[in-house]
């Protein structure tokens, strides 16, 4: 099978050409590719396409967990699950929480990583050390890092000891107004290294001549940063934005552990956390699936708008 496919890729002998070109029309010029890509294609079908379809199906039915193989009736309920989800204050709260997360996380990430990347670009002493410092939170498990932040931001933790009388009451992680900002800060710190890398790569593509002509025109460092660097890395900014939105949509570990299951009155609950509580803890996977579908639609819409804005440039 493999040798046959491989030879058809190098060009079949003259006598068999008509047959192999028909085959080529059906399978492509190098059908071996189908064999090589098959495991990955099957994987995508099994753990991406099928679950996506199943999520939509579950969200339109009265679905509950049952023993494997048991025959149970799961009636079609139309948009009932969606109505229930959209009417649920806890769900609406969680979507607003992600918006709050993004409002803090996105500008901080873009500004800090762009400035850091610009500063790290070019000759600098201690490059390896700096690279390790800014990137090491990204490679470390959230569960491990959350532990330190719990220690730092607890009632009697070091941050409050430093602040003394200025310490917020109630303390950071049990404070309705502060739980989500602390999570947004944590994630910004943890993920920053990755966007620095993206910007560092993007900076390689900004033509040096632009900086030269800017300085000929009398632009200072700040001016040329604003008028050359910032527009020059715009595609990277779009990517950082999309990654931040995906991170926000995925948020689970931090609200679950850092704010003890979503903070006071769900002040820091994320949609995935609510999905987990409703779907797994309370055993109603149908409403949980509806939340998931709404989130997928939201993320895809934002990605499409981004793509549209980018391609219009």
């Amino acid at each position: 099978m493999t040798t046959h496919s491989a030879t058809s890729g190098t060009g079949a002998p003259p006598g068999t050409r008509p047959r192999s070109s028909k085959l080529a029309a059906l399978l492509g010029r190098q059908p071996l590719g189908i064999v090589l890509a098959a495991p990955y294609a099957i994987f995508l079908a099994a753990v991406f396409a099928y679950p996506l379809g199943l999520a939509v199906w579950i969200s339109f039915h009265d679905y509950f967990f049952s023993a494997p193989g048991a025959q149970v009736d799961r009636p079609f309920v139309g948009l009932d699950n969606y109505k229930e989800v959209l009417g649920d204050p806890a769900v609406r709260r969680s979507f607003l929480n992600v918006l709050e997360f993004l409002v803090i996380n996105v500008p901080l990430t873009v500004a800090l990583s762009l400035v850091l990347a610009a500063a790290l670009n070019g000759a600098i002493r201690g490059r390896s050390f700096l690279r390790i410092a800014y990137f090491v939170p990204y490679v470390t498990a959230s569960v491990a890092l959350v532990s330190v932040w719990l220690f730092l931001f607890s009632q009697g933790g070091m941050v409050n000891q430093l602040l003394g009388d200025l310490a917020p009451k109630p303390s950071w992680l049990v404070n309705k107004g502060l739980a989500m900002p602390v999570i947004a800060m944590f994630v910004t710190w943890k993920q920053l290294g990755f966007s620095v890398l993206i910007y560092l790569a993007a900076l390689q593509n900004v033509p040096k001549e632009l900086y030269e002509s800017a300085s000929v025109d009398g632009a200072g460092q700040a001016k040329s940063f604003w008028h050359v660097t910032v527009p020059g890395v715009r595609p990277a900014t779009t990517l950082v934005l999309i990654l931040a939105i995906i991170t926000g949509a995925n948020l689970f570990t931090e609200p679950y552990l850092l704010t003890n299951g979503g903070g006071p009155n769900g002040a820091s609950a994320s949609p995935v956390l609510v999905m987990y509580q409703k779907g797994i803890e309370q055993g109603s996977p149908d409403t949980a699936a509806a939340i998931g579908v709404l989130l997928v639609i939201g993320v895809l819409l934002i990605a499409l708008v981004n793509k549209f804005l980018l391609e219009r440039e």
């Binding site: 190098q30 090491v136 560092l200 779907g279 998931g292």
Partner: protein, 273 residues
């Protein structure tokens, strides 16, 4: 002047970034975790007591082994099947190539977390794979981002190389093994390192799929300790931070040793599409 200022800002920022790691380690080897400013500097009460304590609560060795098997399974699947798929996507013309490529891009936009309910239904409820390594590994078995990176690596090789090898009569598998793979080996290490941190640090999925403590990866058992037991312990932070150090150490060590391989150009080639 601005050069010095730039260095100063970068180094102060770096120290701030590293501080939690330092604090995590220092506290984990202190007899009495101290939350005051004095706790930042080791007081001489050096001890491994916290490590012993966390090991009594969660079996560190077993948890590490579970993390290792989970991570190893994902790496094996990603490297074997991902390289084949990446090579096919980059170098072979076959029917369905465009579709597969589009789906691969889409997978990276639709976050995995959003699919947990149907995947949980499938793996835990339908196939009964809870508390098994297979159930843990399955949803991550081939990392799409890594496949994308593999494709980019193979795409960057000159076409002449491939036509020459084909003229010499080499089959595609032989070309992949003896020509293409050796040339992308350094870049391959990048993709493998990035794949490693995914399952090693993953929390939500193994948390859902394992209820048996003997099957839980370290991230899950440590998280369970934090949220269940720690509240009732008198001074839980020493033990928690000791567990955090054990969880963080392998990924951090790999990163520090191979940090040159976490290069911007490789990532850049990955994200530019």
């Amino acid at each position: 002047m601005t050069r010095i200022l730039r260095h100063l800002v970068l180094f102060i920022g770096a120290l701030l970034f590293l501080f939690p790691f330092y604090y995590m380690f220092v506290t984990s080897v202190q007899r009495e975790p101290d939350t005051s400013l004095a706790g930042v500097f080791p007081t001489g009460g050096f001890t491994f007591h916290n490590y012993v304590q966390i090991n009594e609560r969660i079996n560190l060795l077993q948890s590490l082994a579970n993390s290792g098997i989970f991570t190893g399974g994902v790496l094996l699947g990603t490297v074997v099947f991902g390289v084949l798929a990446g090579y096919a996507l980059a170098r072979l013309r076959f029917r369905g190539r465009g579709t597969l490529f589009s789906v691969m891009l889409l997978v990276q936009i639709v976050p995995f977390q959003l699919l947990i309910i149907p995947i949980y239904v499938m793996i835990v409820r339908t196939y009964g794979l809870s508390d098994s390594y297979l159930g843990m590994i399955l949803p991550f078995a081939i990392n799409s981002t890594a496949v994308f990176l593999f494709r980019q690596f193979f795409l960057q090789l000159p076409e002449d190389l491939f036509s020459a090898a084909r003229l010499d009569g080499a089959g595609e598998l032989r070309i992949l093994w003896s020509v293409a793979l050796p040339l992308v080996r350094p870049a391959m290490l990048t993709a493998i390192l990035f794949t490693f941190i995914g399952p090693w640090n993953e929390f939500l999925w193994p948390f859902l799929v394992t209820k048996d403590a003997d099957m839980q990866p370290l991230a899950v058992s440590l998280a369970n300790y934090i949220s269940n037991i720690a509240g009732r312990a008198a001074n839980p932070y020493g033990a928690i931070l000791a567990g955090a150090v054990v969880l963080a150490a392998p990924a951090v060590a790999l990163f520090v040793v191979f940090q040159k391989h976490f290069t911007t150009s490789d990532i850049g080639s990955g994200v530019k599409g």
